[in-house]
């Protein structure tokens, strides 16, 4: 979007003052399910807030326990009830049985064109890793970095509020795998 920059001597507007802001919380949410389930807190883009080029960022992270039976793990990004992009599957063999892990996922999404049929592109980067002595490619000390995005443009009405949050899903509940989000950070970037 065009920069809402102030000029000397002019009256400041709310649009200039409110173009960048953030919100965060330390609410913990745990996912153990084998269905795609809300993992982070939910934040909303207000109705009619986005212009062409407006960017928003959502970051979450916390810890996890790989199951006593290893299971695949998938992250997803829920955006207005849709799922514009989903992470690659973190393979069950990436980590050892019952390993304790830490993780962070950061999503950026940009409005291409606003309106009732607003279009959006975005991407995410993430990492999930053992808690110490990291050796990539080893299950007992593993670490996995990943990226994901939408290849085709996503459509989501920007004239109504858009809720966004991270999601998680295990391939099966067998083995009692858990992933917990301990903080969520939402930013309007511009």
């Amino acid at each position: 979007m065009g920069n809402q920059l102030a000029t000397a001597g002019s009256t400041l507007t709310a649009a200039q003052l409110n173009r960048c802001y953030g919100q965060a919380d330390g609410t913990s949410t745990t996912v153990t399910a084998a269905t795609t389930t809300q993992l982070s807190s939910s934040y909303s883009i207000p109705a009619n807030d986005a212009q062409a080029g407006t960017a928003y960022r959502l970051t979450g992270g916390g810890w996890a326990t790989w199951g006593s039976t290893q299971q695949n793990l998938t992250f997803a990004f829920s955006f207005g009830g849709g799922t514009p992009f989903t992470s690659p599957v973190i393979d069950s063999t990436a980590f050892a049985i019952s390993l304790t892990l830490r993780w962070v996922v950061c999503v950026t999404i940009v409005c291409v064109a606003p309106g009732a049929s607003a279009t959006w592109f975005g991407s995410a980067e993430g990492v999930i890793s053992a808690t110490t002595n990291l050796v990539p490619g080893t299950a007992a000390n593993g670490t996995v970095g990943f990226g994901f995005s939408n290849k085709t443009v996503a459509t989501q009405d920007s004239t109504a509020a858009i809720a966004m949050f991270l999601q998680g899903k295990w391939a099966s509940t067998t083995g009692a795998s858990t992933i917990t989000n301990t903080f969520t950070l939402f930013e309007k970037v511009n």
């Binding site: 400041l12 507007t13 709310a14 003052l17 409110n18 960048c20 802001y21 953030g22 919100q23 965060a24 919380d25 330390g26 970051t59 992270g61 916390g62 810890w63 304790t100 892990l101 830490r102 993780w103 962070v104 950061c106 993430g126 990492v127 999930i128 890793s129 808690t131 110490t132 002595n133 990291l134 050796v135 990539p136 490619g137 080893t138 000390n141 670490t143 996995v144 970095g145 917990t180 301990t182 903080f183 950070l185 930013e187």
Partner: protein, 201 residues
């Protein structure tokens, strides 16, 4: 915390103007030792009584390094978060194993740290998280081979991973990335070339 937004026609408040700010620098920090942990970012200060529930702070920093010449040595990284810098308030220590890179490898790295106030006061609790990547910079990148490796890492909660850190928000808090080596070898170096601190909300 909820953003403090301005309205047209109403006087602007300092709370509106100061809720989000940033400062950066090109200060250099170098860590080589095992015995004494050192800063790997500029130590920034969260002012006393600054945080409300949900206030978030972020540090981004990065630089380069050199793996040791004769003996493999790992690198340990973690939040510095407390009134002073000592091991007692260095949380979330993780280590990059000594075998990750080949001897004499040069590498580049970046790290982002988050601190979010969950509760405030003398016994304030904080969610501390972060992530980063360290990549050898000489050869083509190919994960899981020492000569070509890249190593992502996540930083989580304090001594365990499922608990919050405690640091009084009524006092100034030093917030930084800290690090040390798993062994002291002066040929193994990690250097920071820039730091960026943001109060996000």
């Amino acid at each position: 915390m909820a953003p403090i937004l301005a309205d047209n026609g109403t006087p602007v408040t300092s709370a509106e103007l100061n809720q989000r700010y940033a400062k950066g620098d090109g200060n250099t920090f170098t860590v080589t030792e095992n015995s004494t942990p050192g800063y790997l970012s500029t130590p920034y200060v969260i002012p006393a009584f600054d945080a409300s529930v949900g206030t978030a702070y972020r540090i981004t920093c990065g630089g380069w390094g050199t793996w040791a010449t004769t003996t493999h040595v790992g690198v340990m990284l973690g939040h510095v978060f407390g009134s002073t810098y000592n091991l007692a308030n260095q949380f979330n220590i993780t280590s990059i194993a000594s075998s990750v890179f080949a001897l004499t490898a040069t590498f580049r790295w970046k790290c982002t740290l988050f601190a979010v106030a969950v509760t405030i006061g003398e016994q304030a609790t904080w969610a501390l998280n972060g992530y980063g990547c360290m990549t050898q910079s000489t050869n083509n990148v190919k994960p899981a081979t020492a000569a070509n490796n890249t190593c992502n890492f996540a930083l989580g909660g304090p001594s365990g991973v499922n608990t919050l850190a405690t640091a009084s928000s009524n006092d100034a808090i030093i917030f930084a990335l800290g690090g040390k080596m798993t062994l002291t070898d002066v040929t193994q170096v990690i250097t920071t070339t820039y730091s960026l601190f943001e109060r996000i909300d």
